[in-house]
């Protein structure tokens, strides 16, 4: 927050340029959302960010998180039943909580999970909004109690809007299909990525979180689509030595 506003503006515009660049012909929606939650943490005074989307049954499912740590995905997924994201999703309006300890009556199991697993104190949920309805929510967590300043909320909402545009590609919006093919693909891609993380974790003897970090940096440095590579890994049609060089002694002997 001590950042000069010039520097911040520059960072923000660079983020939007990067996101716009991602929106090319055949973009990977999961990759876009993954970059977007990364920008949220970089640009906003927030410690973690995640995105949940409503599926065809209008149940929320976690699709992206700034940290792949298991507790973060679980915190998002929990909100299928209760939490700021569910309220935000159902009302299509932002939900801000300055101090979660005061919200345990409102969302008992969500607040209990936050307290048990994290140091988060504040939470904001911003709607991914389309024509008055929400298709999902952007979730921001902070380790200090307090509300985000208005201009940060506005920037957060702008990032949420980019997510909406990315999911419901322009064409689908024109056709008026609220639940585009893209949304379904994004939800399933998330499952593929989790399966691929498991394959990599077992293969390399690393955690699933570390597996995702390797996967992400590999696809970015090779300019590949995250969900394509994840699919090939999950189907075991990908040579994992490309991502995880067989350098450990036990592997070299094989």
């Amino acid at each position: 927050m001590d950042r000069s506003s010039n520097e911040r503006e520059e960072l923000a515009s660079r983020a939007f340029v990067t996101l716009a660049d991602t929106l090319v012909d055949d973009y990977d929606i999961i990759d876009l959302l993954d970059r977007l939650v990364g920008f949220c943490v970089e640009l906003l005074p927030t410690d973690a960010a995640g995105i949940v989307l409503g599926d065809a049954r209008r149940e929320l499912r976690a699709v992206a998180a700034s940290e792949e740590a298991a507790h973060m995905m679980e915190l998002l997924q929990l909100q299928a039943d209760e939490g700021p994201c569910l309220d935000c999703f159902q009302t299509a309006t932002a939900v801000s909580v300055a101090d979660l300890t005061a919200a345990s009556d409102r969302w008992p199991s969500f607040v209990a999970a936050v307290e048990q697993r994290t140091d988060f104190r504040s939470v904001h949920a911003l709607p991914l909004r389309l024509r008055g309805r929400a298709i999902g929510a952007l979730n921001l967590f902070g380790e200090v109690a307090g509300l985000l300043p208005q201009r940060d909320l506005a920037l957060g909402q702008a990032l949420a809007d980019v997510a909406t545009i990315g999911i419901l590609q322009e064409q689908a919006i024109r056709r008026g299909e609220v639940l585009g093919e893209q949304l379904q693909l994004a939800l399933n891609s998330r499952v593929v990525i989790e399966q691929a993380k498991g394959v990599m974790a077992q293969y390399a003897g690393i955690t699933t979180d570390a597996a995702f970090e390797r996967l992400r940096s590999y696809v970015r440095s090779h300019d590949l689509r995250l969900s394509d590579v994840a699919r090939r890994i999950a189907e075991k049609e990908f040579d994992l030595t490309e991502i995880i060089p067989p350098s450990t002694p036990s592997r070299r002997r094989r």
Binding site: R57, R61, V192, G198, V199, M200, Q202
Partner: protein
């Protein structure tokens, strides 16, 4: 809480003792024809490796659509299976990027049937392809928002039912995965891990996880958690 479409409700009401995938596929197709504004439905299995096979078709036209695709090696359903993406064609007579990708199929359908609109929805669970649900309509036009939502939810439920049947341990029990459990990250991660431990495809890895949960009277999510935290490793002779 969840706002279930009419077809999804009908699917959930299908007896859980369905033990044969053709019977299950037939019931799913019928529920779609009754609940959605479509004239016919079919479910085919067509993964890259397994043989193509139509499990169920509600009528001869639905069956013809499947046969044409298999013969011509192109079409909406094949594209849905390959990309994992729903393929929605409101009017086969209008040129679109879809029709341009499979001109022979589009021409053959128009010539040999009265079908104008086709909607192919992949049945999938992550990287596991369980088949494709094909819907057709004689009247041209897109599915509206509510219909599309209902159709996708139905495909989602159908996928879990097919998955449940395919990974069902021999001992009976609930015939399909609970929707809320089926999307827990740890279950997918454990599936990937076990598929490496046993060198088997993902669907089989899930089957082993379910069998283990059943034998030890545990919840699937707890078994998955043990696998991810490396307290449990599957070997050929486990269980």
């Amino acid at each position: 809480m969840a706002d279930l479409g009419v077809v999804t409700k009908a699917l959930l009401a299908i007896a859980r003792d369905t033990s044969d995938d053709r019977v299950l596929a037939t019931r799913i197709c019928r529920a779609c024809v009754e609940g959605l504004d479509v004239d016919g439905a079919a479910i085919s299995l067509l993964t890259a490796r397994t043989a193509r096979q139509t499990l169920a078709a509600t009528d001869e036209t639905a069956e013809l659509l499947e046969d044409l695709q298999f013969t011509l090696n192109e079409g909406a359903c094949m594209e849905a299976a390959r990309t994992g993406n729903p393929v929605l064609v409101a009017d086969l007579r209008q040129s679109s990027s879809h029709v341009a990708r499979w001109p022979m199929f589009a021409a053959a359908v128009l010539e040999r049937s009265a079908v104008r609109a086709v909607f192919a929805l992949p049945l999938q669970w992550g990287a596991v392809n369980l088949g494709v649900l094909d819907l057709y309509r004689r009247k041209p036009g897109a599915l509206d928002d509510a219909q599309l939502r209902d159709a996708i939810a139905a495909a989602d439920a159908a996928a879990l039912m097919m998955l449940g049947l395919r990974t069902e341990p021999d001992h009976g029990g609930a015939a399909w995965l609970d929707h809320a459990v089926a999307y827990r990250a740890e279950i997918h991660q454990a599936t990937g891990m076990v598929s490496v431990q046993l060198d088997v495809p993902a669907a089989e890895a899930l089957a082993r996880l379910r069998a283990h949960a059943f034998l030890h009277d545990q919840l699937l999510i707890d078994v998955a958690h043990d696998v991810v935290s490396r307290r449990l490793t599957f070997t050929e002779d486990l269980d």
